[in-house]
């Protein structure tokens, strides 16, 4: 029997949840400290001392100058000597780690581990310690403090510091990425989070409205969209208010992408920018193609009640937004009918930031220069949410009636990719096909992480995780 509770009034203790799991900070600077834990006592001391600096989901009166968050790989939890019954209760995909899931994720060919950065190849990354900051100076200061704790406790050593930062244009931070698209619109709203549901960001109701998803789609210890608690480690107290995170360093072949846009844009009757919009489902300024198929519209972009507020039900053939466009693959909304219900258990919460130097359009750029996106996504089930989206909707096209075609932008094409852009008899909006596609994005590493609650971190630090 399901206990009768009113899930509409789900209340969550935001001060027990890491802030990173609840909100996108939108800070321009970040550094991800990838650490290896040493002996267990030092590692526990390191965590115990770091906890006091962590940023929770507390409601901000004003934004802090920097934030700190932490998450662990499975080998990290082994190193911390969590009890065997607890370790074995973690979902198998987390125990295996992202590298071992390569065949499932199509992380093969150019995306396979032999092309990854060495730090990700041998399961040495135990901890992801993330600092986000408003200024470069605050970033340095906070990182120095944390590394000093690592040093003093002897609990952790720095393997690599991955910097990321917003792309600055005219001295101001933007949400653009290296291919020139404005990124980071919206994330799924879930019950218990602080803000009201923004139109387009939760799930569709039967009368065409939007409401927040079940808390258990994004946080462990709460009922999910099926009405059950997500698979989670024991004891409950260790899992509750925690979540799982995937981290992927995605290198962008900027020169190759721009060359494709130039070459195909010259052939496409709607022109280069319209072609770019068809690839992603947003114009490069962020205007949703579904809402404005013929031109960008800054008024929509600026309006949070409109810039994610659309459905595909009246465009099942992709004549406005192509069926295989990047944002339609990642979140097909009501593309499969049933009022969008088929996607409600396949949602991921994205956190990401660009890294490397931005080269403005028209200036010489090389693929091999260091530029890309640190993609992070949070969900209650890596298997059911992230892995499903990656395997079925990004790297395959059957659900979308696109055969073997992959996502044009991030698909692992290996030189044989193809994308069909549906069109109409309108000469400005014809069908168009791109074939023999190479990889525009290449994976450089990453892993699966468990992001515990503050309570759980204290238990880990004290060595009091008790699975009985």
């Amino acid at each position: 029997m399901i206990a009768s509770t009113n899930t509409d009034s789900t209340k969550i203790d935001v001060t027990d949840i890491q802030g990173f799991a609840l909100k996108g900070y939108n800070f321009p600077f970040a550094r991800y400290l990838l650490l290896e834990l040493s002996h267990v006592q030092g590692a526990r001391d390191f965590i115990g001392q770091t906890v006091q600096y962590l940023t929770t989901g507390e409601r901000w009166q004003e934004k802090p100058i920097s934030t700190v968050n932490i998450a662990f790989t499975f080998p990290g939890l082994v190193k911390l000597e969590l009890p065997a019954p607890t370790l074995l209760s973690f979902p198998v995909e987390f125990q295996q780690g992202m590298k071992a899931r390569g065949e499932i994720l199509y992380d093969t060919g150019k995306n396979s581990p032999e092309h990854w950065e060495p730090v990700w190849r041998d399961n040495r990354v135990h901890v992801w310690l993330a600092v986000n900051a408003q200024t470069a100076a605050a970033l340095e200061q906070q990182c120095a403090l944390l590394l000093q704790i690592a040093n003093q406790t002897g609990g952790a050593t720095l393997l690599q510091a991955q910097d990321a930062h917003a792309i600055f244009i005219d001295g101001k931070p933007t949400t653009k990425e290296h291919f020139g698209y404005t990124d980071g619109f919206g994330n799924p709203d879930f019950k218990g989070a602080q803000r009201d549901c923004v139109p387009g960001q939760g799930k569709l109701t039967h009368d065409g409205q939007w409401e927040a998803l079940a808390t258990g789609e994004f946080l462990l210890g709460y009922a999910d969209e099926s009405g059950e608690l997500p698979v989670a480690p024991i004891p409950h107290l260790l899992a509750r208010n925690g979540t799982f995170m995937v981290y992927r360093k995605m290198h962008q072949n900027v020169a190759t992408f721009r060359a494709l846009l130039e070459k195909q844009g010259a052939l496409y009757p709607g022109g280069k920018e319209k072609l770019a919009s068809k690839f992603v489902g947003r114009w490069r300024d962020g205007t949703p193609v579904e809402l404005s198929p013929d031109h960008p519209d800054p008024a929509i972009v600026a309006d949070n009640d409109r810039n994610t507020n659309f459905t595909y039900g009246k465009d099942l053939n992709g004549l406005r937004c192509p069926v295989g466009a990047h944002i339609r693959r990642g979140n097909p909304r009501d593309s499969f009918g049933f009022n969008g219900e088929l996607v409600n258990r396949r949602r991921i919460m994205r956190r990401g930031l660009t890294y490397g130097t931005y080269v403005p359009e028209g200036q010489p750029v090389r693929d091999e220069d260091e530029h890309g996106v640190i993609f992070m996504a949070l969900n209650a089930s890596l298997f059911r949410q992230f892995e499903f989206v990656q395997q079925q909707w990004i790297e395959y096209g059957n659900d979308l009636h696109q055969g073997n075609d992959k996502d044009l932008v991030i698909g692992n094409h290996g030189g044989r990719g193809k994308t069909v852009l549906q069109g109409t008899a309108d000469p400005q909006n014809p069908p168009f096909i791109c074939a023999n596609l190479p990889n525009f994005v290449e994976l450089r590493g990453g892993d699966y992480f468990f992001m515990p609650s503050l309570t759980a971190l204290q238990m880990i630090a004290n060595g009091t995780v008790d699975p009985r």
Partner: protein, 211 residues
């Protein structure tokens, strides 16, 4: 006709597996080992019986409820379940199996009760039909086309998308000329082999209309 949907036939056969406790390895186990070793790609025996859409062979044991209290439901025998979706009528299909993949059929059904061999295809067909049960519901592919029609359609689709990619944006007269060559090329192209379109091979094929 519950076994048919359009021209697609959904076959279900339950063949009782031989028993014998004097054997070193029982028939059901030996059969499982053999089935597990079979290829599932274009070299599968069923690729040779070219009217096959899907086929599946599985050894069925007793049904056990794993819970408290555990319940074992005993069937009269262990069965080989053979399911196949194919084009056309049943007698033709079973005869083709006997004639075109006799060694394979022998290797499988020699473990089953009453198997008469394949020397007489009519006897084999009669034996198989004796073990047939009504399918009632099956995955009837996505259309009512034959295997060959589907493969041909995929071949045309693949060639056409490459054609469009290479020719979109060119002057109409050039496209028309190339299109004529494409049509001619496709008309002469060999039928694709059962087991699927190999996209790499298709891409490497000689395509004069793309030059």
């Amino acid at each position: 006709m519950a076994n048919q949907n359009g021209q697609i036939y959904g076959l279900t056969i339950l063949s009782p597996i031989l028993e014998g406790d004097t054997l070193d390895v029982g028939h059901a186990t030996a059969l499982r080992w053999y089935l597990a070793s079979l290829p599932r790609n274009h070299t599968s025996p069923f690729a040779r019986v070219s009217s096959t859409h899907f086929a599946r062979l599985v050894v069925m044991d007793d049904v056990v409820f794993v819970g408290a209290p555990a319940i074992e439901e005993h069937v009269k025998s262990r069965y080989l379940v053979f399911e196949s979706n194919f084009d056309g009528d049943l007698d033709t299909y079973l005869t083709r199996m006997a004639q075109e993949i006799p060694d394979f059929v022998d290797s499988v059904w020699k473990h089953c009760v009453g198997y008469p061999g394949v020397a007489d295809p009519a006897a084999f067909a009669a034996y198989m039909k004796k073990c047939q049960i009504e399918t009632t519901f099956f995955f009837a592919d996505v259309n009512n086309k034959t295997v060959q029609q589907n493969l041909r359609a995929l071949q045309v689709q693949s060639a056409l998308s490459h054609f469009i990619e290479r020719n979109q944006g060119k002057p109409a007269a050039d496209i028309q000329k190339s299109f004529g060559m494409l049509v001619e090329h496709l008309a002469k192209a060999a039928a694709p082999l059962p087991g699927g379109i190999d996209s790499e091979k298709t891409a490497a094929e000689d395509r004069p209309y793309d030059r």
